[in-house]
Symmetry: C2
């Protein structure tokens, strides 16, 4: 199963720009007949996206799930991996769209896909969501719709409106005490009379603490019990905010949208945002992310043809800084030793006080976090990854703008955070950029000529290099001998692509005439240093964590990688640079945005919500900066792939193999 | 003890304007030495007030408590009543200030008074408040101050601020779950650090329902446990709003203030206010009464040298319409059959959402009412009157702008409301006015000459007639033969004072040259009609109520009269016009503002608060308009004093005595 070293097989090494001709790819299938022109090296999945043809990639395009299999009916494609494809399927021309590269014109049959919305602006592939099979709205949803038929008041029964309503609600819901916000109490009399005493109540319970149930709304009509009831699951990432619009009755995700966090303009990472908020007051930061969420809400609702105020519940995941900034709670103490959050478990708030444009009275549940740098994104991620239920030991990495690590199983969970920084999201690297159109997302370097082959998102001229491109670039440069173990660029090689630049030695990936902006795209020694520090922080993080609890990495049954970053990286190359541990590829699993998925589970089912709380309470947080262990591990990991090459046998093999050639 | 008929003894009949000379009254006593000039007929209590000399009148000036006794050391006064004065005291020249009238110059020694604040603008006498003897702040107060010493966070203890605070709060308060409003959560981190982890929390519990305890504030200092903690007890009357500022630690009332309800400008009675609010939207009405309360708050706080936001709890009593209008809850259905309130038992709200200028997070407890016309003013009144604990049957009348009646004892309570209207507050009577300076508050009519003697509040020229004046006027006119049983003015009498005016027959109480405005003050047949309807409604109300439960009025041990109206009326005259039942005077007790007193008890002690809730739930409301019984009783009572004179033996005696003269 394991293929330790295939870069040369799959790469485009040796190809020059002239070789990268365009090819026509025709997609066929049920209601599908479309042709697009794409350059050599384009992934089939990319070509399909360009054609507007939906091909699901639940594993995030890592060739692990086999769900993106398509049938090549004319011409052929280069198959980089055929994992999960049977001999039979291969014989009938099947290929994985996420693992197959266009090298000539071809016709591709796309089998009927599971219905998946693809609405994300920044995520290239919408996650495929299956409603938990044991979800039953009447049992597990905290927001309920209750049909009410009241006896109208009369001279013989002068009970006040609110008591009359409460009595019927109590009978129907079996809840002893139901409260209502003043703004709603102001309306109930009018609504009940307009409804001629036959109305629909929406109530929210809070099984978690002592709060009484809340009346969210009273509608002057009878509403069909199967008509949708709406909620949103939100993940506030430092870089990207994701929002899922969910029908709480069926559990189905109606639409998924994502957008850059509007706070980016005030800082790329959490530290700079905390500093900005501390200096300028928190209102602006709060408003910026609220604007983003409200924009996404608007977008999702428009698609579903509903109004935002029809959304009656929200759950929000996010790292601790994001939750503090959203709620305008000062986050200054997060940044300063001893790194304390103001609040890890916010009470359930109402939408109006938070500033969300959903129903004013809708409960807003900010999920519980653990510590300053292990927030609700991680507790939600641990839930959705399933690791907290696993019998075997699992390592969970959430590599987004920060790097958070959890190790454990159903019996224990330890966690730490390493300030990896957003280098892999393009920050701190001169030509770094996020994974959008124009970003170089994969690089192959010819070991003899040092000429690169590149794949660019959207197939256009490149503008910069995104995270997966940087990992790929580092690995290729190391294996080609352009970088030594310490990350120094070898300026003695016989190629114009290495040179001395403003920031020391540098390697040119694309010449000015090949780029969108007309300037060379190069990577400097300083960039490499930043990237090595980021990858070393992550590697050191999980190795120290494992050491602290006496677990060997070999004992972990699985490495689960969450975060949008993880979705597109190449495991092999990530191992080659020493970012991921050298383990069989099958043991890695890319889960995409585990945080929003956990937020979704918590939105649907109070049991999941309680599990997240349990996860938060039983997770032991280990502060890495508490002693020198981390610093030593970090220093050792700041090399390519590591000072101790014996930890990376597969890389050792490649390196010695190349040396022998 | 009973003195059935003394008007001629006490009256000023036969005196003309010339007789009403001025006299100098000198008050002496501890730190007292002041002389004022007052006209003949001025009450000593009035003269003292004019002199700024404090003489407590806990019974409201009815001569029942004996607390206003003063010693006449030079000259003399006319003693209208000497109840509660011993022979010995009389022999030493003592007189009741509230029952003694100036007829010549005199020197009056004022004994040291119990400390009573007199801050009311509309009430002439501040009630004397004694803290309930069984009040213990730590046991019975729902708002508590908790001193906290927290372990500062460290690298070894990275617990978030809110959990750290909750843990200590939980230990100190024994309360499992404590919530906090978002606005306060935003501040706790900063406060705890400013306080160097040694702070004072103010929390509020709600023993009545399932709500969790609330953190109201966190103060960055250690506060002495005996320093005051402030609350306010409010009564929103249709006419007058009363506010007591209370130290919740000791239970003592720091100051009492009252002011006209700012809504008066938009209607004298509840019906016209409901109509205005329905037409114009409720915001203005809500704001008007909030402005009044906030003004009173400012005034009381200034006096106590504290800031309004130091007030951390409020209880509010008031009739159902007042509570609806305060909270801007539509009150339209109160006015229309079947007369339904939107809400009788509002949940505990927070000051900010209500609009009170006390501490933003302070709980505002609007006390529970029973029905549209039996509100929290009555449940609070019943509590403070003590009738719900009485073994004997008690009749409780709250005669303010409306008339509410409760009959019962510790085992049962029935209640009804009669739309008496504000006739006795001066509305619906051409020359009617409220009990302020310039109001004629007592009238005596010479049975031979039909010339009146009057007493005017403040001793100035009269402007009009207030409630007690109108009762006195009606009684005197009836006994002098100016009015027949049906309320018709006898135009055949030999006096210029009766004449035919715009509104039918009328009687002139003061000629133009004697009045402030230079016009005659007269009472017309139409005015009399309105007054008879008002008194008939009240009388019919309690008689029907008694009949419905099979109780004879003779079986009632006491008649308790609440409301500011009740404070100054003369029982004898009120019986003579058939407003009060013909019972021995000792059985009447005037309690003043029972509503604000009940509000005060509820503010202090959660047991009292629960009692009010129990009173509300066990009070059976009887809708008088449900059948004809009330209408028939009302018709019979619309005469002077009643169609059935046998119900008023004392009046019958006077009438026949006069006829015999």
């Amino acid at each position: 199963m394991r293929s330790p070293c295939k870069p040369k097989t799959f790469g485009l090494q040796g190809q020059t720009k002239q070789d990268m001709a365009n090819h026509t790819i025709t997609f066929t299938g049920e209601n599908i007949n479309i042709t697009v022109t794409v350059p050599t090296g384009t992934l089939l999945a990319e070509a399909a996206q360009q054609a507007g043809v939906e091909i699901g990639q639940p594993c995030g395009g890592q060739g692990r799930c086999g769900r993106c299999a398509v049938q090549v009916t004319e011409g052929d494609v280069r198959r980089r991996s055929t994992l999960r494809l049977s001999e039979n399927a291969l014989s009938r021309g099947y290929a994985l769209a996420c693992q197959s590269v266009v090298e000539s014109s071809a016709t591709i049959f796309v089998p009927p896909q599971d219905k998946i919305e693809r609405n994300l602006t920044t995520d290239r592939i919408a996650a495929e969501i299956s409603v938990p099979t044991d979800y039953e709205y009447p049992l597990y949803q905290t927001v309920r719709r209750i049909h009410l038929e009241l006896t109208p008041p009369s001279m013989d029964d002068q009970t006040d409106d609110w008591s009359r309503l409460q009595t019927v609600l109590r009978l129907q819901s079996k809840i002893e005490y139901i409260s209502a916000p003043l703004a709603l109490l102001r309306k109930i009399g009018t609504i009940l009379r307009e409804a001629e005493w036959c109305a629909t109540a929406i109530i929210a319970t809070d099984p978690d603490n002592g709060s009484p149930a809340q009346l969210i709304d009273l509608l002057p009509t009878h509403i069909d019990e199967f008509s949708p009831l709406w909620g949103i699951a939100v993940d506030i990432g430092t870089t990207t905010v994701s929002l899922w619009l969910v029908n709480l009755i069926t559990g189905q995700v109606q639409s998924q949208v994502a957008e850059y966090n509007g706070q980016i303009a005030r800082g790329e990472d959490v530290i700079s945002r905390i500093m900005y908020a501390s200096k300028q007051g928190g209102e602006e930061m709060s408003q910026r992310v609220l604007d983003t969420i409200n924009l996404l809400l608007e977008r999702a609702c428009k698609r579903a043809k509903i109004k935002p105020h029809q959304v009656v519940k929200a759950t929000i995941a996010g790292n601790s800084t994001m939750i503090h900034l959203l709620l305008n709670i000062p986050a200054a103490s997060i940044r300063l030793s001893p790194f304390i959050t103001a609040i890890n478990q916010p009470p359930i708030l109402c939408a109006k006080e938070v500033g969300l444009n959903i129903h004013d009275n809708a409960p807003v549940d900010c999920l519980p976090g653990v510590a300053s740098y292990v927030g609700a994104d991680i507790t939600a991620g641990v839930l959705s990854s399933g690791m907290s239920m696993s019998e075997q030991i699992v390592l969970f990495l959430d590599v987004g703008t920060n790097g958070e690590i959890v190790l454990g199983n159903q019996d224990w969970l330890v966690t730490c955070a390493c300030s990896a920084g957003p280098a892999f999201e393009g920050a701190g690297v001169v030509n770094g950029m996020r994974a959008t159109t124009g970003a170089i997302e994969e690089v192959w370097i010819n070991g003899d000529t040092y000429e690169p082959g590149i794949r660019v998102i959207g197939g256009e001229k490149p503008k910069g290099v995104c995270g997966s491109g940087l990992i790929s670039l580092l690995a290729e440069m190391f294996l080609a001998g352009l970088l030594d173990k310490a990350g120094n660029i070898n300026l003695t090689l016989n190629t114009k692509r290495v040179r001395k630049g403003k920031h020391g030695g540098e390697y040119v990936i694309a010449w000015a005439e090949e780029t969108q902006h007309g300037e060379d795209i190069a990577i400097s020694h300083v960039d490499v240093d930043n990237l090595l520090r980021a990858k070393a922080a992550i590697y050191a993080g999980f190795t120290v964590l494992a050491e602290q609890v006496g677990v060997r990495l070999e004992d972990t049954a699985k490495v689960l990688i969450g975060g949008s970053f993880g979705k597109y990286i190449n495991v092999e190359k990530a191992i080659q640079i020493g970012l991921l541990p050298d383990m069989p590829w099958e043991q890695f699993e890319f889960l995409g945005n585990t945080s929003v998925r956990g937020s979704y589970y918590a939105l649907l089912d109070w049991r999941s919500r309680q599990q997240i709380k349990e996860i938060a309470s039983r997770m032991t947080y280990i502060e890495l900066s508490a002693d020198n262990t981390f610093f030593e591990a970090f220093t050792s990991a700041s090399f390519l792939p590591h000072t101790d090459l014996s930890k990376f046998p597969s890389v050792e093999a490649v390196v010695s193999n190349q040396a022998n050639n």
